[in-house]
Homo-oligomer: 492 residues x 2
Amino acid sequence: MAAFLGYSPSQWVLLCHRIPRLDFGLESRGNTFQPEVWEYQQTLLVLSSLSALCLLLSLLGVSSSLIGWCCRRRGNHEEVDDSDDDDECDDVTGGHRLCCVTWGTVGAVVICCAAIGIGFYGNSEANDGMYQMTYSLATANHTLSSIDILVSDTVSLLGLAVSDQLTRLEELLSRRDDLIIVARNARRQAEAVIDLLSNLPLQATPPLSAAQLTTQGNYTAENQTESAVTVDWAAQRVGSLEEYRWLSYILLLLLDLLICLFILLALAKETRWLLVLMSSLSWLALFLSWGSLGLETATAVALSDFCVDPDTYILNTTQLDLGVRQDVLEYYLICNKGMRSPFQQRLTQSQRALSNIHAQLTGLEAMAIPQFPQAEKSLSELQQVLNVTEGNFQQLVALLNCRALNKDYLDAIKGLCYDGMEGVLYLSLFSFLSALSFSSLLCTLPRAWDQFHSDSGDYDDSDDDSEDPFGSHQARRQMPTSRAGPSGVLPG
Amino acid sequence: MAAFLGYSPSQWVLLCHRIPRLDFGLESRGNTFQPEVWEYQQTLLVLSSLSALCLLLSLLGVSSSLIGWCCRRRGNHEEVDDSDDDDECDDVTGGHRLCCVTWGTVGAVVICCAAIGIGFYGNSEANDGMYQMTYSLATANHTLSSIDILVSDTVSLLGLAVSDQLTRLEELLSRRDDLIIVARNARRQAEAVIDLLSNLPLQATPPLSAAQLTTQGNYTAENQTESAVTVDWAAQRVGSLEEYRWLSYILLLLLDLLICLFILLALAKETRWLLVLMSSLSWLALFLSWGSLGLETATAVALSDFCVDPDTYILNTTQLDLGVRQDVLEYYLICNKGMRSPFQQRLTQSQRALSNIHAQLTGLEAMAIPQFPQAEKSLSELQQVLNVTEGNFQQLVALLNCRALNKDYLDAIKGLCYDGMEGVLYLSLFSFLSALSFSSLLCTLPRAWDQFHSDSGDYDDSDDDSEDPFGSHQARRQMPTSRAGPSGVLPG
């Protein structure tokens, strides 16, 4: 059960974390997550630049293929002018070449479509992970702000009771020294509780003193919400960034999908302008694919470095940034059963003080009311405040306990490191496959252009047994004389 | 934030909940979720039977189409024997018919593939929802069993302290009446705490009395885990059922996908035995599709009825089944800020008793140790036990607070009613679309068979300008004389 509820890095995280790191001087570097250190950034940039290298290689490949095609094309034109008698042999080799071209194009489009499917899945997976993270951060923020509100409510309630009812009670009982001592004792205990509460080590900002609070009578929460604002800020930031990321990938995926579909359409309908347009868009898609692969590589590797041991990184940075106490952070991030709460002593003391106040007020009730019946109202009001405070206190104890916040933290980490990581890896696979298929498309598309050219009725030795059952027969049957209307195999 | 963290029924749930319900006598019935009531079950069965009706209709349609095909086929054969001179006219109408058949088949396969995609998405969505539900139930079970363990630990620790150290202390102090009164007071308070803790209203089973506990010295948790076992049982049951559901859908989806692909292959390669096999499998798929649609309709409607107001249903049934108190259940299911915890009074009393014991022990330390130095050990041990108990108490207060369990409950409901409901609706769409496409495939496949027959080289007026660029040309070029090797348009 504990393993089911806890977090341990996935196999993918461990695998990516083991990738060796080199800096710009090609020296080996550590793989500890330090996004603010220049050496670490260098290792990520080096890993990203691998995809720039791949882009360069694919550009070289495509351009050499294009140059080869141009040369062969010119050669073919001259040959056609020279000799017409060795048609049979030329037909067989040319047919073989064209067959390869067609199959290459179709294969590339199919691989690209599969890659797009993987990309959609990866994008949705990454989005799920980020949503879970945002949701968990929002829940944690809700808990933190609830703590702040509860503390401020309780402190202002107690402060008001001390400055109002208890002062009135003291004035009433001023004639009896023994009673006034009990009332003063109660005041001292109440002030101690206010002091303990307003100095909870959760808050980073310097808290107000009990004296200030009792004189002010009310307590503002604004000073205490710094940590809450930070978590909230992180949740909102992650949420809005994720929206843009998701949308960009959806647009990229749709662009790729449209290019693939229109390439098939252009081939089926033999539309040259569409093929030219799609070829130029394929260049764009090629650049975008390798570019996104570079980004995804860096993201996956950085994410794996973070996810291998998120506690340590968060412990260090949050402590530096917010000045939150180390033991408080450890308590919330680790939350072992054996761990002692950093609030326990403070809460126990407050609880004991509240119990003492209760006992003292009960004693006062028994002793003072027969002599000072007008004290009854103040005493019952104080008892009421005490009951509310004890209820609030139990809520505060519940909120300060590490379980809820730790679960939110674990859920956020799981969202980022399980679903998020998986999504990034799927997206990398998409980028890689689509880059490969666009490279091969850019090699084969000009040859398909040739095919359009060679299609204009220069052979009639068609073998009817090897026909496709989709369309061409019927199309031919329907318009046996028309040569104008283009009709291909692909429905659409 | 509260709306973000809370649960409100989705539009789909409200829409499905509004579907009118009829029983077997076609009388209108209510749409309150009552799975154990026969009238309610009838309304679900009536809704399911709609898909049986659809199955009947599609069977009628397919069989009438088949009968029509048989008659027309026989007629055609007779006509072919009769007249050979009106070839041109027959070719045009026949070609048009065959074109429709081919396009119908391809369209049906494409719709089926789209449906399969939707089905995969819906299945994964439903699985996500069920996983979230199982995970949340497991977390809730973890919390409940933690409460049981903590209560049993605390009670046995206090019981041991009372029966061991406190008894020894009383024996030591037996000579001083004033001190023995303080010790007895502490014992009474400790027994009161044990009583309060072991009678927490969370447990459904009759709790043990304090006297039993103090004499036994230790406290067994087995009696208290009934509610925990129930949640655990639910989590495991949901998990295992979901595994089977997921697997069945995956198998169904793969079956449909294979049928679609092999139909395309059979058409491309003109393989008759494959077409016959796939036609019979299509019958199976048709039955399975309508059957699963019936199941999904009932599930979606029942789920919507549950999801419109899950609190009320759970409040009623859990109370009946487990005998858990109404206010305790309401506290956990609703968990408003203004709600008073049913444990608050009990916990406050225990807390006050613990504070009193602490005060009494401190008093004893001051008074007794100068006269009875051998009491120091017992006293310090008692203080230690008291500290541990107060720490446990804070944890117990945190665990008993409604926030954690309510969040688990809300997460489980969200998993079921957002993702689960969405998944079921997508699966319904898949079943409907695949049923439609298999119906139309069963109508068109026999006509495709005809096409194979008519393909055997009975026309040579092929118009090369309207050729497809994929394969047929090249295949013809490669084997200009071979008539044996079949080669279609579809790569594969």
